[in-house]
Amino acid sequence: MIGDMLKPEAVFLGVEVPDHKKKSALKTVSKLCAQYSGLKENVLLKTFMGREKVESTGFGGGVAIPHAKMDHLEKPFIAIVRFAEPVEWDSIDGEPVKVAIALVMPRVDADNTHLQVLSNFSRKLADDSFIEHILNDENPEELCSYIVEQMGDESK
């Protein structure tokens, strides 16, 4: 399941953000996600921004998880966007963000399968060595297979 939602093609490393600000970073993330999925860039951006207004998704340690619930989404996915330079994200620990893990989910998930994967994935984010890999792995294929392997342990 996680293998369907997280593909090496959706892992972007060394991404440049012109002014190191959250808004332009999210714009960049939206653009990459739009190119990858065919979704509309401005809709994605608006939804990501809406979530950030509630509370910053930068949860500390240089990682943010912008997320969006979309109408009529057929293929939910996770995209990993690692920035060339840290981005000011207004994180809860005040640290700039080095990597954004974008979670794009359907608003309605009939049998909750995708949400289940995502909640397991979110739980893994509490694991420091898991985060280390996401911050440092240089090869998208290897990173993806590491995550799939780790998540495999979680599947019950």
Binding site: E55, F59, L125, A126
Partner: protein, 469 residues
């Protein structure tokens, strides 16, 4: 320490789970027992059980949105924080529980959490919630017991000097089944009050000790302690076990604590306390009451105080020791040729159940759903003279219901004395009148109606005041 938690974020797809995991990890690292419920987009997972909540020392609510089922935590030490605080440093949150948590009390302004707020029976205090837990488990037993006995008496009973005697084998069995329901009501009430306080391990000490408290031979008194004793035992067992759970126990014997050590010690301690501490005063008090009744009955000038006292005793604990003294005094009066004393008792007996049934019809809003459902059975039990029908109401709101019962029943007892109503059968309620055991059916029924209406109106009045307050 035992900790339970709930996490919830507005979107419910990431932070809810991240925070839950962080709490879980930090709790285990600090060697606490922890379980975290997640309320996310896919619904509630890892749901906390009543038992886990009962046993927990602290509750952490990490939420950026109103959580579901917050009323479960009434009376617990709760720390409510934004979810980011947990994500930032879950260990610090857990370490701060002792200093920062506050006992959660329900407030009426919190939407969706005031399940019982409007019923007037609960201000949402912990002790009240624990009592209500016991009462709600007990109600079906009272209903089954009361109705089986009521039906068997109505169809198979004949009034005799020994009481309502059932001669049919069939109805005898029905009545015996009903008696089992009544017998079980006592341990169920005590057991589930204790369960709400400290979970499963408290069940055995509470239920067994409640049976002890209701067994006159073990207790060494002339009557068991009835439902009031059961409530007392429930709290005693609950808090005793809660305290035992705080003992520092080597890990190796921890698994046998809830199934071996706590039940045996708990039952022993509470039963011993009942026998050695409670038994003697109850015996003494019952004898004292009997002496007062004897003195009052010697003089016809004290007929009204005698009626008032008899009625008050009948209304006080419905089938408990005080009630028993009055009832047995009435029974003895039949043999000794003063059946007007039994007459006064017979007028008072049906007042509590009839009044409670009546009160649920007067104002539904004063009662919760379970009590409303117990209303009609209470009416039927009242007609057959089974005062236990009022026990669910008295147990769930003793401060208002017991005084109302005492006032209505004592007035009925006094009027019965004044009107000189006699009853030749040691049983009460309208049924003995209909079966011809009283000397004046119309006055007998009138007396019962007056007492019942007074109690019903008083109960509704007191409960309404409470709802407004």
């Amino acid at each position: 320490m035992k900790i339970v938690g709930v996490t919830k974020c507005p979107v419910g797809i990431a932070h809810t789970y991240l925070a839950a995991e962080k709490l879980d990890k930090a709790g285990k690292k600090l060697q606490h027992e922890i379980k975290v419920e997640t309320q996310g987009a896919q619904g509630t997972e890892n749901k906390l059980t009543d038992e886990e909540i009962a046993q927990a020392d602290y509750v952490v609510i990490a939420a950026d949105a109103a959580i579901e089922g917050k009323d479960r935590f009434v009376g617990k030490k709760v720390l409510e924080i934004p979810i980011k605080e947990v994500i930032r440093d879950a260990a610090a949150v857990i370490n701060s529980l002792g200093n920062r948590s506050k006992v959660y009390e329900q407030t009426k302004t919190e939407e969706g959490t005031e399940k019982r707020g409007a019923s007037g029976v609960s201000g949402g205090k912990g002790a009240m919630k624990q009592l209500m837990n016991g009462v709600s488990y007990m109600i079906p037993f009272v209903v089954v017991g009361g109705l089986f006995i009521a039906i068997s008496i109505s169809f198979g009973g004949t009034p005799t000097a020994k009481g309502m005697v059932i001669n049919s084998e069939f109805w005898n069995r029905v009545s015996a089944i009903g008696s089992i329901g009544f017998n079980l009501m006592i341990p169920i009430l005590a057991g589930f009050v204790a369960f709400a306080i400290s979970g499963r391990a408290a069940l055995a000490p509470a239920m067994i000790s409640a049976m002890v408290a209701n067994n006159k031979d073990i207790l060494g008194t002339s009557a068991g302690t009835g439902f009031i004793g059961a409530i007392l035992v429930g709290y005693m067992a609950g808090y005793l076990v809660k305290w035992m759970n705080t003992w520092k126990i080597p890990k190796s014997i921890r698994p046998v604590m809830p199934i071996f050590v706590i039940p045996i010690l708990g039952t022993g301690i509470i039963s011993a306390a009942l026998i050695f501490v409670l038994g003697a005063p109850i015996s003494w008090f019952m004898t004292a009451l009997q002496n007062i009744l004897n003195v009052l009955s010697k003089n016809s000038a004290t007929a009204i105080p005698l009626g008032l006292l008899l009625g008050a005793m009948i209304g006080f604990d419905m089938g408990g020791p005080i009630n028993k003294v009055a009832f047995l005094f009435g029974t003895a009066s039949i043999v000794s040729g003063t059946p007007q004393i039994m007459g006064a008792v017979a007028c008072a007996i049906p007042v509590p159940p009839l009044a409670m049934g009546l009160a649920t019809l007067i104002d539904k809003k004063c009662f919760d759903d379970e009590e409303q459902a117990a209303g009609v059975p209470a009416l039927l039990m009242g007609l057959i003279g089974i005062s236990e029908g009022a026990i669910p109401f008295a147990a769930s709101d003793p401060k208002r219901v017991i005084p109302s019962n005492i006032i209505g029943a004592s007035i009925a007892g006094a009027i019965g004395m004044v009107l000189g109503i006699t009853d030749a059968v040691p049983h009460g309620g309208p049924i003995v009148g209909f079966l011809g055991a009283t000397n004046n059916l119309a006055l007998f029924l009138l007396t019962i109606v007056i007492g019942s209406v007074i109690t019903a109106v008083l109960t509704v009045f007191l409960k309404r005041r409470k709802v407004k307050a």
